[in-house]
Symmetry: C2
Subunit: 148 residues, 2 copies
């Protein structure tokens, strides 16, 4: 039940940009280095995100990428859908396209029954959570920073 590397890198990049100063343009190389992502591969991923209107970019010196919206207005689930990353563990449980299901009868498929709940919960969670939420959640030390 893994997401693809492509989706993982995309989310890492989005979350990195969410942690940068809002308007700042961040070049690919910086994201790649800080997040340990192969730069050339990251390029085409960011391009896809730009085409999905999640990022905007500028070329040349001082160029780079930035979020096209505020970090609290971009949902994790939305990003994954933009990447055509399936949220469903098995094709049966896909929400929209009713993908071809290998089981003889989808209505009585026990695997579908088992996985549907997992898929629903994951989709609900990921569609509610924004980039800003994830960043905030990753910083428990903000509360205990006085202890250090």
């Amino acid at each position: 039940m893994r997401i693809t590397k492509r989706a993982e890198y995309a989310l890492r990049a989005l979350l990195f940009l969410a942690q940068s100063p809002p308007g700042r343009l961040v070049p690919i190389g910086e994201i790649a280095e800080r997040e340990n992502i192969p730069a050339d591969f990251l390029e085409q991923i960011l391009l896809a995100l730009r085409r999905a209107d999640l990022l905007s970019s500028r070329r040349g010196i001082g160029g780079g990428y930035k979020l096209s919206r505020a970090a609290d207005a971009i949902h994790i689930g939305e990003a994954m859908r933009a990447l055509e990353e399936p949220l469903a563990p098995v094709p049966c449980t896909a929400e929209r396209s009713r993908e071809k299901c290998t089981c003889p009868d989808p209505r009585t498929c026990p695997l579908r029954a088992a996985m549907q709940e997992v898929a629903d919960q994951a989709a609900l969670l990921l569609d509610r959570m924004t980039l800003a939420d994830a960043v905030a959640r990753s910083r428990p030390e903000a509360r205990v920073s006085f202890d250090i």
Copy 2:
């Protein structure tokens, strides 16, 4: 966030056996045909399940596979772990082996923070649900069978 074909086929086979009369030995060919699974590939999957003591088998005429335990004593999550199918969306969120994480600092990784909850919920759900549960859940028509 898909499970591998290998895991999908394994679960289909287990659930098919869970729907068969408890002690009956079911040959590979029958499972493959009914569940639309390539028979030769299914073979090595069932072998792995046998080695994990989830199935038992007998060769020769009248041979085949059966569950080594009752259907309500085998959990979906248990089967997936036996197949070395990761339950975690990203390596960071893996429970046991603390796999190598590509992020610079796992403690402050926003992706990990975002996915941890998804992983936990999925693991909880799959570790509670037995094969028997999934089969029962796939039969809402048991209630409306009188309508037909």
